[in-house]
């Protein structure tokens, strides 16, 4: 049990707009309001039949200073699209971005200012660095483009950047080419490039998934130090929920373009409220597990061209009820700072978020008896993580 849910506050419906992300006093560095992105599907035929991929639907997210927000989801969940929307590499279909509380303008100048403050670190350091240029070139370029330093101090600025990402001695790295560096060192150079213009926000899209296991933690710890030391707001996009738990303050779980659950990192993994989060956790490798996990909600994510009605998870959900098919659940507060977009947590339906899943299966489930039994069996699992 989380200490807070011991008193079992009744789940309450939150106001229409739920802003995900760590809660901190003051104005967040970067805030996204109702971000939506629909990609057109290119096809011939009458305009009325023109279809779109609903990649990101109505996401509001705030990234305060000195915090790490992890966005977790499977491929196709829209997590990378969200990161790209936040970099302004792609324009949202609707919704707005606020930098330091001010709406972001569209002029060239505003855009330049935005890219100075919000930087992206890409997944694959093997292809995000230019093979024919040295480390020095990669790090000087943003400094020159954003006119962050005079010509004479370029060299010292680059050395300083390398030291900041723990590549020392910096002078030993400055004239190396990407092929001379290991994967971890390359990713550090990519992060240093992101830091060159002293951004306030760092968006890291799967920054460690291409790296060797033994050096992943080094890069994650570096991000943690940057958060601590430079008070960066970091968005960490990943498919690995364990690393999200390790690094992040807040975890945002995405499914089929929507946020299904968000809350403090350990709370999300110890007491997941949304059936999809529970599914993700049960599928994640866990050496401490003694029994093979029971997957509740097999199958794969839906087509985002014609997403399911109501809750997008309902075709897979072991607890699906009639209401799930009809209307999309709003985000219900299930614990302090933790919200889940799931009808199971509608006030009045159930009082205890941890047992909600089990009880509602027995009564409302439209799934097969075997699955229902499975779910009841597995109900203790859902709480076991928290009871130790």
């Amino acid at each position: 049990m989380t200490p807070t849910s011991g008193g079992t506050p009744t789940a309450t419906a939150t106001p229409a707009t739920v802003v995900h992300g760590p809660k901190r006093p003051g104005v967040p560095v970067l805030e996204a309001r109702h971000l939506t992105k629909h990609f057109p599907v290119i096809q011939f035929g009458p305009a009325s039949r023109r279809q779109v991929v609903h990649a990101v639907e109505d996401i509001s997210l705030a990234l305060p200073q000195g915090t790490v927000t992890a966005v977790v989801g499977e491929s196709g969940s829209g997590k990378s699209t969200l990161a790209r929307l936040l970099t302004q590499l792609i324009t949202p279909t609707s919704g707005e971005l606020l930098l330091n509380g001010e709406p972001v303008g569209t002029s060239g100048k505003a855009r330049r200012e935005y890219t100075r403050q919000v930087h992206l670190v890409l997944q694959d350091p093997f292809s995000s660095l230019n093979a024919v240029h040295s480390v020095r070139y990669h790090l000087e370029r943003p400094l020159k483009l954003h006119r962050r330093s005079g010509r004479d101090e370029l060299g010292s600025r680059v050395l300083e950047l390398l030291e900041r990402v723990s590549l020392s001695p910096a002078s030993g790295f400055i004239d190396k080419y990407p092929h001379e560096l290991s994967g971890g060192q390359r990713q550090r150079v990519a992060i240093a490039r992101g830091l060159a213009v002293e951004p306030k926000v760092l968006l890291a899209d799967e920054p460690v998934s291409m790296l060797d296991v033994s050096i992943r933690l080094g890069v994650l710890n570096l991000l943690d130090e940057l958060r601590e030391r430079e008070q960066l707001a970091i968005l960490y996009v990943t498919h690995d929920i364990a690393s999200a738990r390790y690094l992040a303050d807040t975890v945002v779980v995405m499914y089929a373009g929507q946020v299904v659950e968000s809350g403090p990192a350990t709370q999300i993994t110890d007491a997941p409220a949304h059936p999809y989060t529970q599914l993700l956790l049960s599928a994640a490798p866990d050496p401490q597990r003694t029994e093979p996990p029971v997957l509740r909600g097999r199958g794969s994510p839906p087509s985002l061209v014609t997403p399911p009605s109501g809750c997008r998870f309902h075709p897979r959900c072991p607890f699906a009820m009639a209401v799930c098919k009809e209307s999309q659940p709003p985000a219900f507060t299930v614990a302090p700072d933790q919200v889940a977009a799931c009808w199971l947590h509608e006030p009045g339906r159930s009082t205890d978020p941890d047992t909600a899943t089990a009880t509602s299966t027995a009564t409302n489930s439209s799934t097969s008896p075997a699955e229902a039994a499975e779910a009841t069996d597995a109900a203790p699992d859902a709480t076991s993580g928290t009871s130790e």
């Binding site: 994967g183 933690l217 710890n221 929920i241 390790y246 599928a283 997957l295």
Partner: protein
């Protein structure tokens, strides 16, 4: 999950296998002195980082290695006992001629390759690819029988019959991987080698495929060599695990043993590289530095530059893969499998540092005061779960003391 195997007989024995890339002085040693035993029905996990030689080892023992890869020594004995046969014939795969290899490959020893998109033929339909192997190996089958078998295979891996006429690009990643598994199992092999079969897949799909695979193994009784870099997955999945580093096997142990009582600093470091899903959040350090290049291996133990416990000796002499001297649990282990580690710390001359001595018979007085900088095995403290319910593969009571003394 790890089912306890009571002295199953070996199906594949690899002894002192050495593989080089290139010839002469400049040759890079891809695999050095690998010795492994795979038992019937066992899942053997091969873990290591990129460049550790785990795929090279798999390709060498199937003789699929391409130039400039050269097998320079050792032997690979395959104890062939085809379905329904009572006699076992031992074949040295490294000495076998092309005809013999053709007879064994796929029908007795199948491989599931890493990238299903690249391993499937993009211009051939699924049914063509499934029946092709039957056409080659089961000449007596009629086209109708072959088709029937293809349907059966697809159903076995959870794909419906109407996918037979699909091209690979019409299938999702998970389905392609399932087709690969179905193809590997088409001739009911005794050994299936899986090279990172689920690395590119989402966790839920990965879990589903692994579940199916384990059910199939239960039913068909094949052995699996499972190659991956994801040690946390392997601990759940495999019966025993071999850890590779820079072309050498550095530790070999039962899956649970390895998790609870690693004996090699590299295994310990790898275990500490996976953040846990439970318990307190503790800062973990992973392993400092990065894996060495095989063209410029450090002398002595290749791990010593990254090792927190390195001694003078580690830089000059290469440790052999041996039984830890103070490990007295080997006497009473059920599966007859020795646990091995290639580390000077375990040679009995000194007592190994605490994280590597869990469950060893070292005098208790020696344990405190061992300077263990920053390597305090975080994530291992919270073992309330295991000591209650876990079958401790041959570890017996030793395993339970861990939690107390570790702290």
């Amino acid at each position: 999950m790890s089912t306890t195997l009571i002295a199953a007989d070996p199906v594949l024995e690899v002894r002192n296998l050495c593989v080089d890339y290139g010839l002469g002085e400049d040759a890079v040693h891809g695999v050095t002195d690998a010795t492994l035993t795979l038992r019937r029905g066992e899942v053997l996990g091969l873990a290591g980082e990129s460049g550790s030689g785990k795929s090279t080892l798999a390709y060498a023992l199937t003789r699929l290695l391409r130039a400039p890869g050269v097998i320079t020594g050792g032997e690979v004995l395959f104890h062939n006992r085809p379905q329904g046969s009572a006699t076992t014939e031992t074949v040295d795969l490294l000495a076998a001629d092309a005809a013999k290899l053709r007879q064994i490959r796929w029908s007795q020893l199948a491989v599931v390759f890493q990238s299903a998109m690249h391993a499937l033929n993009p211009v051939a339909r699924v049914d063509a690819q499934l029946t092709d192997v039957l056409k080659a190996h089961r000449k007596q089958m009629t086209p109708a029988q072959r088709r029937e078998r293809a349907v059966e295979l697809l159903r076995m891996v959870g794909i419906s019959e109407d996918r037979l006429r699909s091209y690979p690009h019409e299938l999702s990643g998970g389905m392609r991987q399932r087709v690969m598994i179905a193809m590997a199992l088409a001739l009911e092999p005794q050994i299936v080698i899986m090279d990172e079969p689920t690395t590119a897949l989402d966790v839920v799909t990965q879990r589903e495929i692994l579940e199916e695979l384990m059910q199939l193994r239960e039913r068909l009784g094949f052995s699996i060599i499972f190659i991956t870099h994801d040690l946390s997955l392997l601990i759940e999945l495999a019966d025993s695990i071999a850890i590779m580093y820079a072309g050498r096997l550095v530790e070999r142990a039962g899956a649970n043993e390895l998790f609870h009582t690693p004996r090699h600093p590299y295994s310990l470091g790898l275990l500490n590289s996976f953040p846990a899903l439970h318990g307190d959040r503790i800062r973990m350090e992973g392993i400092p530095g990065s894996p060495p290049s095989l063209t410029a291996l450090p002398g002595g133990c290749a791990f010593h530059p990254r090792c927190a416990f390195a001694m003078d000796r580690c830089g000059s002499e290469t440790p052999r893969l041996e039984r830890p001297q103070r490990d007295d649990s080997s006497g009473n282990r059920k599966d007859g499998e020795e646990r091995l580690a290639a580390c000077w710390l375990q040679d009995g001359r000194q007592s190994p540092p605490a994280p590597l001595a869990i469950g060893l018979s070292a005098p208790a007085a020696e344990r405190p005061g061992q300077g263990i900088p920053s390597q305090e095995t975080p994530g291992h403290e919270n073992h309330g779960l295991e000591s209650q319910g876990l079958e401790n593969n041959g570890l017996e009571s030793n395993g339970h003391e861990i939690t107390g003394s570790d702290r």
